[in-house]
């Protein structure tokens, strides 16, 4: 027990800064996330087609839900278009409303 205490005190006293740095990156908060780039903005997509299932499948979960853009990094502008495309594909039974578990 005594050894453990001494070890922890050693680490806190000497290397607090070193431990924190990789998390937040410099002096920003440790909770700050890296901003993801929007794949549609990068590709300069003019529109998102509901028939393009390969693209759409990347933005739904296995259960068939549309993924939130805080996870995928899609911009607000394209998320609205993507949402519409997925819903159109669902209506034509190209994508499931409720996927298998």
């Amino acid at each position: 027990m005594q050894q453990q205490y001494s070890r922890s005190s050693h680490s806190t006293s000497s290397s607090t800064q070193e431990q924190r740095e990789p998390r937040g990156g410099g002096d920003s908060s440790p909770f700050a996330k890296k901003k993801k780039a929007c794949p549609f903005t990068a590709a300069k997509a003019k529109k998102i087609d509901y028939k393009d299932l390969e693209t759409l499948r990347q933005f739904i979960t296995e259960r068939g839900k549309i993924m939130p853009r805080r996870i995928t990094g899609v911009s607000y502008f394209y998320q609205k278009i993507l949402k519409k495309a997925i819903k159109q594909a669902r209506y034509m039974a190209l994508l499931p409303f409720v996927g298998e578990e």
Binding site: K36, K51, T55, T72
Partner: protein, 114 residues
């Protein structure tokens, strides 16, 4: 005068896969004839073949997909829909305005990185 307005449309149709080839052709002819009757013109027909439906429609698990590009007077679309609703072998249909006729249905999928 507004009756002469025309638009380019894209229609996707799911026909029942339980139909024989002949009766499926007949059903498709019924759709194309309906467009022609209203003064439209079918530009392109994509036969996408049999596909498994992601959920059952009218008790069917498979469907035969067709994608048509056609021009039609804007007023006639609503009449076409009324016909389609009476069509028994047509499981589902959708008509949308488009700007261009796609010659091939292959897309460059946008990949998500990471």
């Amino acid at each position: 005068m507004s009756q002469k307005r025309e638009g380019l449309y894209e229609g996707m149709y799911i026909l029942s896969a339980t139909l024989s080839n002949e009766s499926r052709k007949k059903a498709l002819d019924k759709i194309t004839d309906g467009i022609a009757e209203k003064g439209g013109e079918v530009k392109k027909i994509h036969d996408q073949g049999r596909r498994k439906l992601c959920y059952e429609i009218k008790g069917k698990k498979e469907g035969h997909y067709y994608l048509l590009y056609f021009t039609a007077p804007t007023r006639s679309i609503i009449e076409l829909w009324k016909e389609y609703h009476l069509h028994e072998d047509l499981l589902r249909f959708v008509t949308m305005k488009t700007e261009e006729v796609l010659e091939s249905l292959e897309f460059n999928p946008i990949k998500v990185q990471g």
